[in-house]
């Protein structure tokens, strides 16, 4: 075990940790995006709410999510410790330093960009993750899907409706036909309500810029850190870093609060 500790405590090893946790977070962003695209579905949130139940109950996903929380914490703490260590390596600063002559500002601002993301993650987890799992504010909604026509209707359950499971499924019928009935904790509504607050929308949009800039440098940097630098593949890595991680994903995430704000 000694060699593992030795490797990860060297300056190179600490960066391996940053790169591995960073890339794991990057892979999560893709999953998070695909899942959240269901917010745009015009079904009053049935698909999104069912998905939220799945994500919080499936044991394999639960296990992965613990790894994710751990990675965020580890990445953030290690990142800040590295910034401190790196500052110590230059105790006397230059009177004049022309950083833009030799490097991109994003690469010189990873600590501050990361800190903005950390604040965002805390607010974001408090508002949705914590409220959904432990809060009492989020109510239930029942959805009826007509089996013959496919039409869906929804009705909020009264505030005193609670249940152990986040979801109940069953069948019901009236004179118009048979219905599939789903009663589910309505995270969708919580999202829709929160994103009517202009300051939250502004915070989300601004923080997505921080994500974009963090990953503009970070995504390709992680490959370099892990020694994966090859002229044949560098172009692809740069391309993915720019188009997926600093344009498409942040724009997609920013579109969600904007969508609900203007809806």
């Amino acid at each position: 075990m000694n060699w593992v500790i030795k490797m990860f405590s060297s300056s190179l090893g600490q960066k391996f940790i940053m790169a591995l946790t960073g890339l794991f977070l990057c892979s999560f962003l893709i999953v998070h995006m695909i899942g959240n695209l269901q917010l745009f579905k015009a079904d009053d949130g049935l698909a999104f709410n069912t998905y939220a139940v799945f994500m919080t109950t499936n044991p394999l996903i639960k296990l992965t999510s613990y790894l994710l929380y751990f990675s965020i914490l580890f990445h953030a703490v290690k990142g800040i410790l590295l910034v401190v260590k790196n500052n110590k390596a230059r105790p006397v600063k230059y009177a004049v330093q022309n950083g833009s002559a030799n490097s991109h500002w994003t690469s010189r601002s990873m600590g501050i960009l990361g800190t903005i993301i950390l604040v965002f993650i805390i607010v974001h987890m408090k508002n949705f993750w914590f409220e959904y799992k432990f809060g009492h504010e989020i109510g239930y909604t029942s959805y009826y899907t007509n089996l013959a026509t496919g039409e869906t209707g929804s009705k909020e359950m009264s505030a005193d409706y609670t249940q152990f499971n986040k979801i109940e499924e069953g069948m019901t019928a009236d004179e118009k036909g048979q219905y599939r009935l789903v009663i589910v904790k309505d995270l969708y509504k919580a999202v829709a309500l929160q994103f009517k607050e202009w300051y939250l929308v502004a915070l989300y949009v601004l923080c997505m810029f921080a994500v974009a800039f963090h990953l503009y440098h970070g995504f390709q940097s992680a490959f370099q850190t892990l020694g994966l630098n090859h002229s044949k593949y560098n172009g692809l890595i740069k391309f993915l870093g720019i188009w997926i991680y600093s344009i498409l994903l942040p724009a997609g995430f920013a579109a969600m609060p904007l969508f609900f704000f203007f809806k």
Partner: protein, 254 residues
């Protein structure tokens, strides 16, 4: 002929390692644009000597871009505004009449200032002693070309070996990281057959020494390579990272 230059200089003056140090302002006149930056400093120093003042201490030796001693941080960049040159190769035609030029020593905890613009770069020597060599038994020299080496590898190794140990990479890096220097010294052997027997040991021990000296970690900003007078590439850093991982996994140590 271009017009000669009159310049204002702000130069870091520090009597010794313990002195706090401060900037002093000087004026030099009628500087030929064909002079090198160091020659301009020679002019300034003779001026100071005639005024019975202490001349500015600065490192220099070859004055042709190969010894790596002329460390000066000029207007916020190691070796000044030009790409891929040392201070001795920087010509005064890169400046304009009336310019104010700020000159500082390399700033890094492992490079303490000895006097004025001279810093102690023995940290680099200690990193080399830790593993930047190959052990050979002396004897008759081998025939040239007795060991086949792919042309690409030979070229890459040669590119790495062009590092002159000037320290501009450390000076440019926001973390004062020595990764570019160390990776060049690791690569020049890692790419060649002669370097293989000690390949893993070398990278482990050089990295350990680098950390011990107090250089910062690498953020992959690329400032080092952009300022390196020899254009040492970031691919060497990636190779060192790979080799370090391989060495850690493969070492006999448990």
């Amino acid at each position: 002929m271009e017009k000669n230059l009159n310049l204002n200089l702000k130069v870091w003056r520090q009597k010794n390692a313990d002195d706090k140090g401060k900037f002093e302002e000087y004026k030099v006149n009628d500087i030929s644009t064909d002079m090198s930056f160091l020659e301009m400093f020679d002019v300034l120093n003779s001026q100071l000597i005639t005024e019975d003042k202490d001349p500015i201490a600065f490192d220099h030796d070859c004055r042709e871009g190969i010894c790596g001693s002329c460390s000066m941080h000029i207007n916020g960049r190691p070796h000044g505004p030009k790409h891929a040159v040392t201070t001795c190769q920087l010509h005064m035609r890169s400046f304009n009449d009336g310019d104010t030029i700020v000159v500082e020593p390399w700033r890094a905890a492992p490079f303490p200032v000895i006097k004025d613009l001279v810093v102690n770069r023995s940290a680099f020597d200690r990193i080399i002693s830790a593993g930047g060599f190959i052990s050979i038994n002396t004897g008759n020299a081998q025939d040239a070309n007795a060991i086949p080496i792919p042309k690409d590898d030979a070229d890459e190794a040669f590119a790495a070996a062009a590092c002159i140990g000037c320290g501009a990479c450390v000076a440019a890096c926001k973390n004062a990281s020595a990764m570019l220097f160390v990776s060049a010294k690791v690569s020049q052997f890692a790419l060649l057959p002669q370097g293989q027997p000690e390949r893993h040991q070398r990278v482990s021990e050089m990295v350990a020494q680098m950390d011990l000296e107090g250089f910062g970690a690498c953020t992959n900003t690329g400032a080092c390579s952009a300022e390196c007078p020899k254009g040492i590439s970031l691919t060497h850093i990636a190779r060192m990272n790979r080799d370090y991982i391989a060495a850690s996994f493969a070492a006999n140590e448990k």
